[in-house]
Symmetry: C2
Subunit: 361 residues, 2 copies
Amino acid sequence: MSADRRLAPGSRIGILGGGQLGRMLALDAARLGYACHIFCPEPDAPAALVSAANTVAAYDDEAVLAAFAAAVDVVTYEFENVPAATAAFLAERLPVRPGPKVLSICQNRGREKSFLNGLGIETAPFAVICTRDDLKEALTTIGMPSVLKTMELGYDGKGQRMLNTPDEALAAFDALVGDSGKKLILEGLIDFAFEASVLVARNPEGAVACYPLVENRHANHILKETHVPAPASPQTAVSGEEIARRIAEGLALEGLIGVELFVTQEGRVLVNEMAPRPHNSGHWTQDAAVTSQFEQCVRAVCNLPLGSTVALGPAVMTNLLGDEAHDWLAILSDPKAKLHLYGKAEARAGRKMGHVNRLLD
Amino acid sequence: MSADRRLAPGSRIGILGGGQLGRMLALDAARLGYACHIFCPEPDAPAALVSAANTVAAYDDEAVLAAFAAAVDVVTYEFENVPAATAAFLAERLPVRPGPKVLSICQNRGREKSFLNGLGIETAPFAVICTRDDLKEALTTIGMPSVLKTMELGYDGKGQRMLNTPDEALAAFDALVGDSGKKLILEGLIDFAFEASVLVARNPEGAVACYPLVENRHANHILKETHVPAPASPQTAVSGEEIARRIAEGLALEGLIGVELFVTQEGRVLVNEMAPRPHNSGHWTQDAAVTSQFEQCVRAVCNLPLGSTVALGPAVMTNLLGDEAHDWLAILSDPKAKLHLYGKAEARAGRKMGHVNRLLD
């Protein structure tokens, strides 16, 4: 690929979505000399407060989308629930990275698992559920306990129910489908030793770079802590990183994705799900890796050489949820702690307000 | 001092000036959850592109300044040549940190040297020059070679002339004074082994934190490289840091200053000048210290606990002047290099376009 297909510093990066991931992406893009333009439906978004330009409009407003496309050089996103039609509309006009096909795979749990299994990568056993009869039949093979989830949308435990009894199963079906006619997916429960993730970036000329395997600890389905490196054998770490690399290549990824994994007691590595954007479990890279995941995402979508993914040492990232962000004074008093706050006005319970990175000795 | 005099994350920091120092200050302020408001006369300033708010107006427009004062919680600056009247006007309305007194000392080479000598800190010998006769008389004590400088303004070698002969001296006087009637200052030339600097921060409750002594190498009077740590004996390093600390306390500093030093062959440390703001020679802290100078400046002006000033290891910062910024691809290909670009459109010769930090092994 010729150098002129690289997007030089000074180019304009359009970001769909205005949350904290877009904010941190915009901050690192600015550091490299890029100007970001946030497109999101909500005014005063965290990302818009640190970006050169900002469009507040609905994702299906084509006139505004066309103007946005004309104002930027490449488009990426900071969350995966951008309507597929929005990504497709933009992709006819300029590079959208990752592309609409990647977005479409990551938006649908069934497509995602089929894609992974097609690459020979293990996932939880699953079945697509349209009717109560589908569910009854799937339970005979997948069994319980298992998890019933909406096929699309849903995050941080929203849109899913644990199934332990046939009665619970049918009640969960009714609650999740309601009168929407939405498809569901039944997933077998994995008996994992710990949850993990790997970030991987690939640029359009095909360079791939993986970060080390890390462990993620959740509370109430929300990420609470990331431990770097994961407490895994070297073989397990390599196998997690290999899986991420195969996914990046299988997707012909242009950008950065977070791959969520289950690691079993015996060191087997299964993929839980993928996010086609910077990932909460990659925030440690801001202070404990040579290249942050946000800088790496900018490098990938601008077709620059990828940065070093070497960790500076063991580290822990702790999310600040709701009121926990009020502890800023204690955190700032800890010489090892690096505080990151997202500029959100209201500290609602469970809301991601910020995080803290600590490099350990 | 009570905790309620701390400015909590979410507060609004007003910054006078919109250049790269303001830009990097705004980026680090955002990371901590603060919102920046840039006040500067030029549109499309590098800092404005990454800040929540932006006022483009003249520094003497009092109506606009009053509105700015009402819109922010504290004011700081990113360059020291803000008119004294502007700082005074704002300081009647809200905290201005560093305060107008510090600004006034740093703006005037004569006041600056007198202040330093009053603290028992050595500077170059100097004399205030109003007339040709003043200059002739001063040359009899200070001698030549020496340097004739404008008393105020001037940076990167602008507004100064080296004097080697009596004829040169009179020509320099005429050239620098012109018909402005401006005061000049004659400074004896220091036979230094190297130029150095120390950054020091002090918060309103009196905590002081110094960064290590670093060496600065100039080309054409413009900073080219900073080497961390400086090639100095431990005693010399401590004496540079002690000087910075005495200055911070002597000024009752609220904020961060850069102190430029001369270190002689024998390890004597003299102060060249001070800048009441983040300093080009402190850019290494972004990638090679626990706390960047920009985060430290935010902590100091918001009266937060100061961050750790420990260096992560030896490092070199290299300025990218003019066309050197076009080397971004080679820099991004170096796994040790951290690129910082300021988003300036035009790479004029000698213009500071960005810098690179490299942590050495």
